[in-house]
Amino acid sequence: MKEIVNLPVSKIEEEEYHINMGPQHPSTHGVLRLLVSLQGEMVKSLKPHCGYIHRGIEKMCEKDTYPQVIHLTDRMDYLSAHINNHAVCLLVEKALEIEVPERVKYIRTIMDELTRIQSHQLWWSSFGMDLGGLTCFFYGLRDREMILDIWEETTGSRFLQSYNCPGGVMQDIHPNFQKKVHAFIKTFKKKIKDYDRLLSGNVIFENRSQGVGLLSKEDAISYGVTGPSGRGSGWSCDIRKVEPYSMYSQVHFNEVLRYECDTYARYMVRMQEMHESMNIIEQLIDNIPEGDHSAKMKAVIKLPAGEYFQRVESARGELGVYVVSDGNKTPYRMKFRTPSFTNLGVLDHISRGMKIADLVAIGASLDLVIPDIDR
C-alpha cells in the first residue's frame, strides 16, 4: 500500500477566490452547497454547507407510528429506498423478537440487491455526466428502467416503494416477478460490458480518475467512510459480511475491495458490486420458498422500552437506525446514521490540492445523495 499524504488544513484568508458550488449546481446533484476557496484552478479548501433540504425527518418520526416511519425513510436516500425500509423493519422485528417467514427474507434480499443495482446504475450515469460523457447518462437510465418496471408490478410504485412493513412485505410478489428478474439479469449482463467499453477502459476517463482524491485506509476508518467509497480504500466494511441480516449469511458473494484508494478504485468497486448483486439475485431468485409474505403482527406496534440499533448496508454505505423507545407506539427518539452525511465529511480532506474538475469527479465518486445528508 502506498503512502498517501493529504495537504494540511490551511487558514482561509480574506483574499482567497471563493466560489459557491451549489445550492444550485449541476454537479452537486441536489441542493448541497460547497464553499470552495480556490487558488487558480486548485482547490485550497472547501466547506460543505448542508441543510437546504432538511425536512426534520428524525423529529417527524417521533410523531409517527413505526409503520408510518417506514414511509419517511424512503425520502432519505431515495435511491436505496427499499434498503432504508428494510433497516427500520429489521429493527422493529429485532425489538419485538419476531421471526419473519423465510419467503420474506428472500424477497427482501432480492429487492435490496435490485435497489443496489439501480442505485449504482444511476450513480454510473451521473458519474459519466459529471466527467462530461453525457451519453453515459442515457445508457444507465435505459437499463435502470427495467428494474423500475419490475418494482412497479410488484410493489405498485416505481421509486419510493415503501414495500416493507414490520413483519414482512406489503403484498406478495407478482407472478411475473421471477421471469422479469431473470430477463433483467440476462440483459444487464450484456449491457454492463457496454458500460466498461464506454467509460472504464477510456484513456481520458482513466487519466481523470486514477490518482485523484486519494483516501487512505486509515482516513477512511477515522472519517467513517463506509460503503463502496470505503471499500475502494481497502477497508472491509460491508455490513452484509460483518453483521449479516436476512439471507446474506446464506448466499455466496465476494466483498469487493480495491486498494488504489482513488476515484478509479471507488468506481471499480461499484462496477464490481453490480456483478456481485446479480450473483446474489441469481442464487435466490429460483429458490423463493412458499409461505406467507408477512408474519402475524399486532394491529398497534409498540416497542418495549429501551434502546435499539440496527445497521444495514445501503447502496452508499452503512445505514444505522437508532431508536429510543419509552414503550409507546411512537419512538421517543429516532436517529439515522446515514452514509452520505459521513462520506461528505471526507470531501474537504481528499479534494484539497486537486483541480475543480477533480472535485467534481471526487464528489461523484463518493456518490452523495443530498436528501440523505440533510434528512
Binding site: Y17, H18, I19, H25, P26, S27, E41, G128, M129, D130, L131, G132, G133, L134, T135, F137, F138, Y139, R142, L198, L199, N202, I204, F205, N207, R208, K355, I356, A357, D358, L359, V360
Partner: protein
C-alpha cells in the same frame, strides 16, 4: 446568362457586368458587397440552424433516443422554433457587469467566425475573397474569437464565467499552434496558401492521399486541435457544465446567448470546411489519375455537393467525439498539446519537407 452548377465563374462575371452596365463602378462594388453580405448572413443562419438540428439528431442516435420529432416532419423546424423562443426572451441585465464589453463580446465571437467563413471556397468560383494568403488569413481571423470569449467571461461579473474564460484563453492559444502547424504541413506539400490553388492542386488526388503518412498524421492532429479550438467536447472545458455551470456564457440570455451558440456551431462548420478543403480537396471530386472514365463520372456530381459532403463527414466525426468521450482536465489538455501534439507536429513538418524534397509524394 450562363449558369453552370460546375463553375460559377461565368455566373459571377454575368452579375458583375450586369451591375456595372446599370450603375457606376463604385456603386456596383458596394452593391456586390451588400449582396455577398446578405447571402452570407442567410447561409450562416441556415447552416447554424441545421447544425443544431443535426447535433441533436446525432446525439439522440448515440444515446438511444429519437431526438426532436414534434415540430414539423422529423422535427426539422425544432431549431427554428427554439431560435424564435431565444429571440423573444428577455435580455437579463447583470448587476455590476461591464455593460459595454458584455454587449460587445457576442459580436466579436460571431464576427470572427463570419470573417473566416468568407475565405472558404464552396465551389469553383464560389468564394467571397480569394487571398493569396488564405490560410494565414483564416488562422488569424478565427483566433479573434477568443477575445470575445475572454471579454464575455471578464465582463459578466461571475466567477464561473471568469474561470471558463481563462480556461478558454489558455486552450485556444495553445491549440492555435497545432492547427497552424498541421495546416503548415500541407502548405509545405502544396507550396501555396491560396485556397483556390490548393483545391486546384488536388485535381489528381486529394492531399491526404498525395502526402500519405505525414498528411494523415497532420489530419488527425488537425482534427483533435480544431475540436479543441472550437471548444467542443471532449475539450469543452470553457463551458464544462458539470464544473462551471455554463462557463463563459453563464450570464447571457436571449439573443446574446444565441450568438454564442450559433458561433460555436459555425466555428465547427468553419474548421470542418478548412479541414475538408486542405486535406480532402474541398469541392474537388474524387479523382484517381489514369482512370478517365471514373473521373468523368465523379465530375458529374456538383462541386458544392462534394464540399458539403466532406464537411458534413468531418462535422459528424466531431459530433461523435463529443458524445462519446468524457471531458479532459485543464492540465491534461495543455499536456496533450504541449507535450504530444506540438512535438509530433514539428517532426511531422520536417518529415513532410523531406518527403517533398525527395519527391516521395504522389
Amino acid at each position: 446568362m450562363t449558369f453552370n452548377i460546375y463553375d460559377f465563374t461565368s455566373f459571377n462575371r454575368w452579375i458583375d457586368e450586369g451591375l456595372n452596365s446599370i450603375m457606376s463602378p463604385t456603386w456596383a462594388l458596394i452593391t456586390e458587397m451588400a449582396i455577398i453580405g446578405i447571402v452570407f448572413l442567410l447561409f450562416y443562419a441556415v447552416v447554424g440552424l441545421f447544425l443544431v438540428y443535426a447535433e441533436r439528431k446525432v446525439c439522440a442516435f448515440m444515446q438511444n433516443r429519437v431526438g426532436p420529432n414534434r415540430v414539423g416532419p422529423y422535427g426539422i423546424f425544432q431549431t427554428i422554433a427554439d431560435f424564435i423562443k431565444l429571440l423573444m426572451k428577455e435580455l437579463v441585465y447583470i448587476k455590476d457587469s461591464d455593460k459595454l464589453l458584455f454587449n460587445l463580446a457576442p459580436f466579436i465571437v460571431i464576427i470572427a467566425s463570419f470573417m473566416a467563413l468568407s475565405a472558404v471556397p464552396f465551389a469553383k468560383g464560389l468564394h467571397a475573397i480569394d487571398f493569396d494568403i488564405g490560410i494565414l488569413y483564416v488562422i488569424a481571423v478565427s483566433s479573434l474569437g477568443v477575445v470575445g470569449i475572454l471579454l464575455a467571461g471578464w465582463s459578466s461579473n461571475n466567477k464561473y464565467s471568469l474561470i471558463g474564460a481563462m480556461r478558454s484563453g489558455a486552450q485556444i492559444v495553445s491549440y492555435e499552434l497545432s492547427v497552424g502547424l498541421s495546416l503548415l504541413t500541407i502548405i509545405v506539400l502544396a507550396g501555396t496558401m491560396q485556397f483556390s490553388e490548393i483545391v486546384e492542386m488536388q485535381r489528381n488526388g486529394w492531399f491526404i492521399f498525395k502526402g500519405h503518412i505525414p498528411a494523415v498524421i497532420a489530419f488527425i492532429v488537425f482534427l483533435i486541435a480544431s475540436t479543441a479550438e472550437t471548444n467542443r467536447g471532449p475539450f469543452d472545458l470553457a463551458e464544462a457544465e458539470s464544473e462551471l455551470t455554463a462557463g463563459f456564457h453563464t450570464e447571457y440570455s436571449g439573443i446574446k446567448f444565441a450568438f454564442f451558440f450559433l458561433a460555436e456551431y459555425m466555428n465547427m462548420f468553419l474548421v470542418a470546411s478548412i479541414g475538408a478543403t486542405v486535406f480532402w480537396g474541398g469541392w474537388m471530386p474524387f479523382h484517381v489519375s489514369g482512370w478517365a472514365g471514373f473521373n468523368t463520372i465523379m465530375d458529374y456530381i456538383p462541386p458544392f455537393v462534394w464540399y458539403i459532403g466532406k464537411t458534413a463527414f468531418i462535422i459528424w466525426l466531431m459530433m461523435l467525439f463529443k458524445w462519446t468521450f468524457p471531458r479532459l482536465r485543464i492540465d491534461q489538455l495543455l499536456t496533450l498539446e504541449w507535450k504530444y501534439l506540438l512535438p509530433i507536429n514539428l517532426v511531422n513538418i520536417l518529415f513532410m519537407a523531406f518527403l517533398v524534397l525527395m519527391h516521395w509524394h504522389f
